[in-house]
Point group: C2
Chain length 428, copies 2
Amino acid sequence: MHEKTAKPSSTSLSAGLSVREAQACILGKATPLGTEDISLERALGRVLAVDIRANRDLPPCDISAMDGYAVRAADIANAPVTLQIVDDIRAGDAPRAALRRGQCARIMTGAPVPGGADTVVRVEDTRPSPDDAVEILVPVPAAADIRRRAENMRQGEIVLRAGTSIGPGTVGVLATVKQATVTVYRQPCVAILSSGNELEALREPFDPARIPDTNTYALMAQVQAQGVEPERLGITRDDPAELSGFLERGLANDLLLISGGASVGVHDHVRPTLAALGVAMHFWRVEMRPGHPAAFGTLGHTLVFCLPGNPVSSMVCFEQFVLPALRALTGHQHLFRRTVPARLTQSIKSRPGRVEFVRVTLTRNASGIYEAVHAGSQSSGDILGMARADGLLIVPSASKGLATGETARVQLLETGAYQAESDLGDGV
Amino acid sequence: MHEKTAKPSSTSLSAGLSVREAQACILGKATPLGTEDISLERALGRVLAVDIRANRDLPPCDISAMDGYAVRAADIANAPVTLQIVDDIRAGDAPRAALRRGQCARIMTGAPVPGGADTVVRVEDTRPSPDDAVEILVPVPAAADIRRRAENMRQGEIVLRAGTSIGPGTVGVLATVKQATVTVYRQPCVAILSSGNELEALREPFDPARIPDTNTYALMAQVQAQGVEPERLGITRDDPAELSGFLERGLANDLLLISGGASVGVHDHVRPTLAALGVAMHFWRVEMRPGHPAAFGTLGHTLVFCLPGNPVSSMVCFEQFVLPALRALTGHQHLFRRTVPARLTQSIKSRPGRVEFVRVTLTRNASGIYEAVHAGSQSSGDILGMARADGLLIVPSASKGLATGETARVQLLETGAYQAESDLGDGV
């Protein structure tokens, strides 16, 4: 009676949710975890949990923007004129004294402008003169090439907001305001479990009749790509006692990924065992292809995702459901893969009612428009196609298919972040 | 005589290279390092150094693509018809015996198709019947819902080529062919040094007259974003003996980044000290803004980059020069930031002769076209603008500026990889 027990017990679960409904359901349960203090050296990729204020003015005083001579503008109004060099100021120096009429100071980029000076003349507009003097060849307007105190940052102002994803530029700002320790959202503990009698572990001997455990490692890498190191629980056989032990261990985490169980026999055990452990299932079907048998439940704050056993389906479901949840837990505000428009080079048939995610590679035509080409077969067993794909082309739920030349949206997978040619905007 | 010694000694160096020439010069010296064997769990982001072949057929035999009944097509040509269930085959099981006329086997997704059977009828096209029988309601064509042996992967075929960047899909393929250990290009040892008397270290007490050491941490994060953990050498004062000690330590690495020294006084020491240590400088100026005083040299296989002291300039130079070099050393084939077209919402003036990199944030208008907005002031002292930027908009070298509404290329920085809204191609 496998086919009967496979049906969800609640009728509200039996009709699948749309992808958007499923995402909304998940994100309603995925709130940022607590915060923790970490060293700046470990902050890349994390999310600020507090506002950050400047601890100083930057520049700390008026400084020179160029190598040259600090002068009084009034002295050079009738240039050429020769001025006496009374100081030689480098970045980090304190000027000796204020300039008086007829005086100037040699000054380096970033060095403090001495009192009395109100402009900087660049080296190339001067000529050395004997006896510590310099000839200023042209008049320059007052305030030229001076960067004003606090022009870039004023002490006390908020320079970064809570919720900022920490990229290299953000790390630069944090270093600038001397945040050696940073308060960020905590990262989730993630556990990964593969289920299925047919699965052969990575380091088990080769058995031609069995199927390699692809999902543990593909999901691990998808989690790692979010900067989180997951715990691999391994493989559970289709046995209630063994499964229960694994699930109990998995449920001690913030997020549990279970792949496999697309075959009804295993489902029989996963759902009752999750229920026996207190997990409330929120949906059990999503109107998407691949990935239809995706399911989601919670136990307290723990999020539980049941992903299809098919590696491509499992990875596509991760992209739509687990990735936004992981990013929400870690406090990110941008939760979804970036999308770009791309033109189809092949037609795609689709059954309306389910969003279809087509694995594509992207190339760019002469006008800079993305063109999408199928990444190998669209068999959901084709992990090679998933490895080759630059993105997931979306055939919307209502569509009966797309014709060659039509434009569709493509979710960019990370392999698309770099390109082979240096693009300097000159079309070369 | 600072302004004199600042000039390169060779006249061929005194005219700056174009960005493209500088990149070509660097990439001519940046060849992949050796290889190493690492565990699959650590392979994400690395680059395969060898071709990988399939160790098995996948599927390993003909398997069912659905939950249902394996039958002989001839038996059901005149459906409805009732068949005897003689087996119950799940994924990982071995079928008991070949089917004979009038027999069928209950079969789960992924389970091996028994001998004699040549098609699968889905559960929904059947009705249970008493005494271990099932009624097949409709005829289905032969070969329906069977995935053929080796359909996705054939033993011995090359499934991944040397030079492949390892993303989650690639990890999935490697797990599928049981590569618990993977041969990848070695990662470079990278050292980072900041120079300047005015610099205050991150954990030093606050001194309002000094400047925080932004570059060490911004560069560190840029290197970390490439999956490499750099060594931070710290801050060197403008003192030949101290500098020499730091440089010697730095030159023991594959790649040395020195920031600062834009002030002539420090240049005085950096160049002769590098020369005294045997470093050959290949260029000392690049026609770009910001970042004009970028320099590059080599000692044996060690690449040495002198980056401007200004944090924004230093980060922009990293993007153009160090990032492609780092990616080349680690065996990547796509070395450059991906670019997209974006429409300007503001005009930009530019002096021809230098490529200009404008820090921009990107938004998308109703037609899905990117629009670029200045990320704060374009002062090269504005590290906040760099933190906010989604990309670097390129004003080509020949351009006198760009008008509002014109389209330019934007190099995408990593913050642009995710978006706030779920895009499922339906315009919602």
